[in-house]
């Protein structure tokens, strides 16, 4: 840590990790709902819908907190200056944390906007908008005052502004259901396949540059090409959500063609990462960050790229849309593309924020492999359930619950994988909070490594 104000990031990361744990616990509860018969009295007070709203909102909240923390860590290093105001950063964190807690408790009492992932009621939306404006102002002022513009900074700021603007489309009440979902995807799709990719791309480029020592010019050049491809395929690719919602038929063509191209930028990112790793100029210091960087790139390709592509063509999507196939893709994609990226940042920045240059990575590696394989197993279980559902319910015309009966076993398998995932999460979160320095008895390999900046 070179700049005092980078410390702000630590508190964002810490809160994100706690919310992540809570999200996974609620996920397990959802899995129980899927295979067990719960008493009516329990369903009446804590229905599946409430738990799902909490599970998904926690996901969004912890990932966004991670992104913000990462931004507060990266911007001083990139601009070579302190954050404009650490006070704003802390106020904004408290405001977001309070809003999040209020929203979660509100869900328990039925205070909701009732739209999946955007359940947060309108008054709280405005607090979030104010929080976002404070954040953007703080980051923007830091960059403007420093006048040390880089492509990474620009991409990061661009992505964050894009992210904030898209949130606005989720706030109003739309009387027409079709229009409602049309703009719902402007938030959800243009986040995960647009704004978030920009933010994640900038963060990833920064860390890759730091750990490999590859020239900034090379990293930034690739960043342009990848982001260009992400946005080219991603923006019009929104069309793959418009097949069956009451929009014109041409979306089947637009959505099909553009989203068929969507794996390309991810593939390019994987190739580019491997190339940088091969031509690295620095020695491996903390190998866990590398594990997460490479693992994350591959998981991104698997979950978002391949599993997304698998059911994105209209001919297939007609049968898989709104089934457990979507659940499978959703879990693998969010984990692969965004959870892994955040955890990589945490493992890069949290040790430095604690003044540790080298830390023991045994527990962390255990966490990585446990989470990675458990999530893969979970994604496959949902996938099998989804294929069963598509065939039994949509091809054979079996009733919804009759088909669910046949899928029940796979929900149990998903639950067991979820338990394994929870173990990975608990180990990882504990490890990040209580990092241990690397034992000195081992030969120090980092002698050649330059201090990360």
């Amino acid at each position: 840590m070179e700049y005092q104000s980078q410390r702000v990031a630590y508190f964002y990361f810490a809160l994100a990790l706690l919310l992540f744990t809570l999200q996974v616990l609620l996920g397990l509860w959802l899995a129980v709902n899927y295979f067990a018969t719960l008493p009516q009295s329990l369903v009446d007070v804590f229905p599946f819908s409430t738990a799902r709203a909490m599970h998904t909102n926690l996901l969004v909240l912890w990932l966004l907190l991670g992104f913000m923390g990462a931004t507060y860590y990266i911007v001083p290093a990139e601009t070579k200056s302190e954050i404009y105001s650490t006070k704003i950063a802390y106020i904004q964190l408290v405001a977001l944390a309070l809003t999040g807690v209020t929203a979660l408790i509100g869900f328990l009492f039925g205070w909701t906007q009732g739209r999946p992932l955007l359940e947060i009621p309108m008054p709280l939306d405005f607090v979030i908008v104010i929080g976002a404006l404070m954040f953007l102002y703080n980051i923007g002022m830091t960059m403007i005052k420093a006048k040390n513009w880089t492509v990474i900074q620009g991409t990061l700021l661009g992505g964050l502004v894009f992210l904030a603007v898209m949130y606005l489309f989720g706030i109003p009440f739309y009387p027409n259901l079709t229009i409602d979902w049309y703009y719902w995807w402007w938030v959800i799709h243009l986040w995960v396949e647009g704004a978030w990719e920009l933010v994640a791309g900038a963060i990833f480029a920064f860390i890759l540059m730091k750990i490999t020592g590859v020239d900034r010019a090379v990293v930034e050049k690739w960043l342009y090409v990848e982001m260009g491809l992400f946005l080219f395929t991603g923006i019009a690719g929104t069309g793959h959500h418009y097949y069956w919602l009451g929009a014109p038929r041409y979306w089947l063509w637009i959505g099909g063609i553009f989203s068929a191209l969507e794996p390309l930028p991810i593939l390019l990112m994987v190739i580019d990462t491997m190339k940088h790793v091969r031509h690295r100029k620095l020695q491996v210091a903390n190998s866990l960050v590398w594990t997460y960087a490479i693992g994350g790139a591959f998981y991104h390709l698997l979950g978002a790229g391949l599993f997304g592509f698998a059911h994105t063509l209209p001919q297939i999507n007609y049968y898989t849309h709104g089934s457990q196939v979507t659940v499978s893709h959703g879990h693998l994609a969010f984990f692969g593309a965004y959870a892994m990226l955040n955890l990589m940042v945490f493992y890069y920045a949290m040790p430095k924020l604690k003044g540790l240059e080298n830390y023991a990575d045994g527990r962390g590696k255990f966490g990585f492999w446990t989470m990675g394989s458990a999530m893969f197993c979970m994604g496959l279980s949902f996938g099998v359930a989804g294929v069963l559902q598509a065939y039994l319910e949509r091809v054979l015309g079996m009733g919804y619950m009759a088909a669910q009966e046949q899928m029940r076993l796979w929900f149990m398998v998903a639950f067991v994988c979820g338990l394994a995932f929870l173990i990975g999460v608990l180990v990882t979160v504990y490890d990040l909070f209580f990092l241990k320095p690397k034992e000195e008895s081992k030969p120090v390999r980092s002698a050649v490594a330059q201090p990360a900046r």
Partner: protein, 235 residues
């Protein structure tokens, strides 16, 4: 590779703007066409009130609609066609009764009579959105296949067609067709005679005061007789 940073910047700019312009142009056109595709002229105050009910009780985090939302319960896009007024009303008003035999439950959320009626009108409007024949399970092609299955089991009969058309399968099962909300119909002919059965179909409580089945005012006496005939033939 001889790609310069400047070329990379142009790739970024042209790719992004090209996609954005196409997307915005199609958005404008979609707005134009959606009026027809969704029958926006029939979007009455009651329909909009029904949408607010749908949101107020967070229905969408268990059910999908247009395929979006929670995957925990059946898709509601064509619920009106599948369940009709009576079917929707019963399920929302008394889920603890309707789903008492189901291994997955629906919460009792104490909706007012007005809210339930608005919800029914909303579902009726949603039912008519042109979704390019999605979802397949409710597609016009699908009932044919389940009717074919019925016919394969029991032979051609006008009663079988009516049984399907009047939404009986939304609660009852015959062989492998239908659902388990109410009792299976395979052996019901052994329990009642034809006249009683026809009466039961329209006014269940007159025959069996303990019955959980809702009244069926939409079914005509002659239709009930045909359905009863068909059910008698099953035993």
């Amino acid at each position: 590779m001889s790609l310069t940073k400047r070329t990379a910047w142009w790739i970024f700019l042209v790719g992004t703007l090209g996609s954005l312009i196409l997307f915005l142009a199609l958005t404008i056109d979609t707005h134009r066409q959606v009026r027809v595709l969704t029958n926006a002229d029939r979007l009455t105050d009651e329909v909009v009130a029904g949408k607010r009910v749908w949101e107020k009780y967070n229905c969408n985090d268990c059910h999908t609609i247009l395929g979006f939302g929670g995957y925990y319960a059946p898709d509601m896009t064509k619920s009106y066609k599948r369940l009709g007024d009576v079917g929707i009303r019963e399920r929302v008003a008394k889920p603890e009764v309707v789903f008492s035999r189901s291994w997955r439950k629906m919460p009792q959320q104490h909706l007012s009579k007005k809210e339930i009626e608005d919800l029914v009108v909303f579902m009726k409007w949603v039912n008519d959105i042109d979704t390019h024949d999605w979802p397949p399970q409710d597609s016009a092609k699908m009932p044919e296949s389940s009717i074919r299955k019925l016919i394969a089991m029991v032979g051609i009969s006008p009663g079988a067609a009516l049984f399907k058309e009047r939404g009986c399968l939304a609660c009852h099962r015959i062989g492998e067709v239908g659902t388990d909300v109410g009792p299976a119909m395979d052996k019901v002919g052994a329990k009642y005679n034809k006249e009683t059965l026809a009466e039961y179909i329209i006014h269940p409580k007159k025959v069996n005061p303990q019955s959980k089945m809702p009244e069926q005012p939409d079914v005509k006496p002659l239709e009930a007789e045909r359905i009863a005939e068909f059910l008698m033939g099953l035993k």
